[in-house]
Symmetry: C2
Subunit: 448 residues, 2 copies
Amino acid sequence: MSERQFHLNAFLMGVGHHEAAWRHPNTDAANLLDVKHFQNLGRIAERGKLDSVFFADGLAVGPRVKHNTQAIFEPVTLLSAIAAATDKVGLIATASTSYGDPYTLARKFASLDHISGGRGGWNIVTSAGADEAANFGLGAVPAHSDRYERAEEFVDVTLDLWDSWEEGAILLDEETGVFADPDRVHRIDHDGPRFSVAGPLNSPRSPQGRPLLVQAGSSESGKDFAARYAEAVFTAQRTLEQGQDFYSDLKSRLIRYGRNPDDLKVLPGIVPFIADTEDEAKALEQSFTDLISPEYSLRQLSNMVGVDLTEHSLDAPLPPLPDLDHIQGNKSRYQLVKDLAETEKLTVRELIGKLGGGRGHRTFAGTAEQVADELTEWFDKGAADGFNIMPPYLPGGLEIFVDRVVPILQSRGLFRTEYTESTLRGHYGLAESVGKRSRATVAVEVSA
Amino acid sequence: MSERQFHLNAFLMGVGHHEAAWRHPNTDAANLLDVKHFQNLGRIAERGKLDSVFFADGLAVGPRVKHNTQAIFEPVTLLSAIAAATDKVGLIATASTSYGDPYTLARKFASLDHISGGRGGWNIVTSAGADEAANFGLGAVPAHSDRYERAEEFVDVTLDLWDSWEEGAILLDEETGVFADPDRVHRIDHDGPRFSVAGPLNSPRSPQGRPLLVQAGSSESGKDFAARYAEAVFTAQRTLEQGQDFYSDLKSRLIRYGRNPDDLKVLPGIVPFIADTEDEAKALEQSFTDLISPEYSLRQLSNMVGVDLTEHSLDAPLPPLPDLDHIQGNKSRYQLVKDLAETEKLTVRELIGKLGGGRGHRTFAGTAEQVADELTEWFDKGAADGFNIMPPYLPGGLEIFVDRVVPILQSRGLFRTEYTESTLRGHYGLAESVGKRSRATVAVEVSA
């Protein structure tokens, strides 16, 4: 077995990432409403020895309720139910730093980590939607830079809260009646521009000490944030070259924050259509594309590029788009869509087809061997430490990946054949906990 | 079987309600840290056909970390894991209206309701602790009346959010690609003194429409709040007469809010020590009292009465206590402790012993038959619609209640022998959902 190993996350969304998945005969739309479907997905991922499963999240319905299948479950409560049905696989939930309190969030993820025996992870997002802001008393979305400033303070407080109970603070001494050593439970007394939090957290230290920190922003601020805090990054990269650029950029930023490049795993997304032959795989993808509803997709695309395209002709190219500087939402996804439309000279209809599988993430149609080759090439050529697998339909698209692609990676010595660790940090080859002292050192180096 | 039936909730706390439970040979202290212990408790409650299980919660560690076993798990995430291990029993979690956002809370409980197939309930509290305020950016606890004003607006918004998706809004029409009928998904556009929330909720209507609303405040504001919103009330009443007074007071308030007295179930707490003979039951209780740590209990009592008693002699009576008007915390519990100490002329040591079982809730030691008789008397004489069972030790104290007391109640035709409903509202004999219109009617009657 080679020394460097793949890390694989299953990004789970309803009955599949393809926007028309729920209408396709390969899925059962009723599964959208059924927690047992999601528990089953957790078990399939565990059968494949995957590092983790992951759920995205948003804090508004958005204007697309007619055609967009809504998430039924909140990610952390859903992952608690999946924890009860699995033993090993990591459990990563999205939660926003733009609304709510660090105390509540720290407690929620500590609880998930306790419930799962050390398998919890937090995908940190800074909600960019105006519809989200309006659900939390704000008339407009905070500016991109404000969101990241708040995110930094939010994460700092959360880390301090997770560290407020030292390892070994619980004594459970039945003889003397001492539950915890008060000298190993600390106030944090944070008093910053946005948050004032006394602590300690109302949860003893969780099995991992700190749930794994994941991030997916790929803007300049996003990459700096990831380099400072994240331990895994989900990213959308469409070509090997773009993937290599992103990978080396992010790893070099890590060094500036006094971290080791191995302390963060880069996991590009891929939407794999897998079949016995390449032709069958392409036909499978086409059968999904054929079900795309243009009305829905035009709204989705309008949202991505910040221009109303709902009356735009499907067979014309995109109209001129605003400068990146004017985008306050997901800057990196905007850039990706703009580049894709311009370099490939696509009509709106063609663009919609390309985006339908994974909202900008790379789609790939081929045999299991071809998928494994593609992944291995990215892994070998410095574009990835592993992948964020985004099955276009569920559960089938996850099953075929686990049952056909994973064994190829295992036979090449690139992926575990059994779990060797019991925590999410363990699966990703990261220390059990970075602890208070090492983070303080980082802060000093940053300010130097 | 008689028409009027008992409703029974199991109030679960660590390895038991008695403050020394974790040190007693009847428990295994390691269970405090083990989610499987709590899943097992859910299954025991379900074996007994109980209506629900319930977890309290607080938003700070408090000053008693040395002796006070801390909750390891956050209630809603814990109940999601228990939902995965049970099929029928209701799942009630405490959450505060004093901190956080209605949008987040509405979503979390909707998710629990989806995950459990309609078994979710919310015990509404208005956190009274200064240590809690300091974890959410406040220098002091909001005044009692402010907390209740905020609670009312918080609950109003939450109910509107739960109603923002009408029954039947999800169409899942694979042919036309229509997920939901946008005409049945509504903005709420709430703009009040404390919250501004656009809606709709990012969760389709949950199986119960609205999770069950539970409340436990017994002050004047608390009783009015309960009469307006609650569907079940947990209360601490030490004597039949006090129980009758509380019961008739609360039911009469319901009528003022245009509600039917049956729309709210009154469930006094009881901490039952059960054994084959009365003497054995009393000896069992004494074996717990003997393990009480005075250092811990004096802090606990100081907290309840708002006077530092940690240097006070254990064998003297309580010092003079402040007037009720000066208490900003749990007013009804303060009054109960003061009355108990004064009417029974107790020393501090005796008072601590009386409070050790259930922090002011009634303890009762006897045979299963005696417990059943006591409960039946309260039920028959207008003091209770059922009970909040607070086992002094777990799991044993719940098992003996389920295996010995429940069959007696069943043989008397006072309690179900099988679940006849699948939702928590169903177990409590309440309508599936009150719906938007009926609540608007209530509001009109209130202002008339």
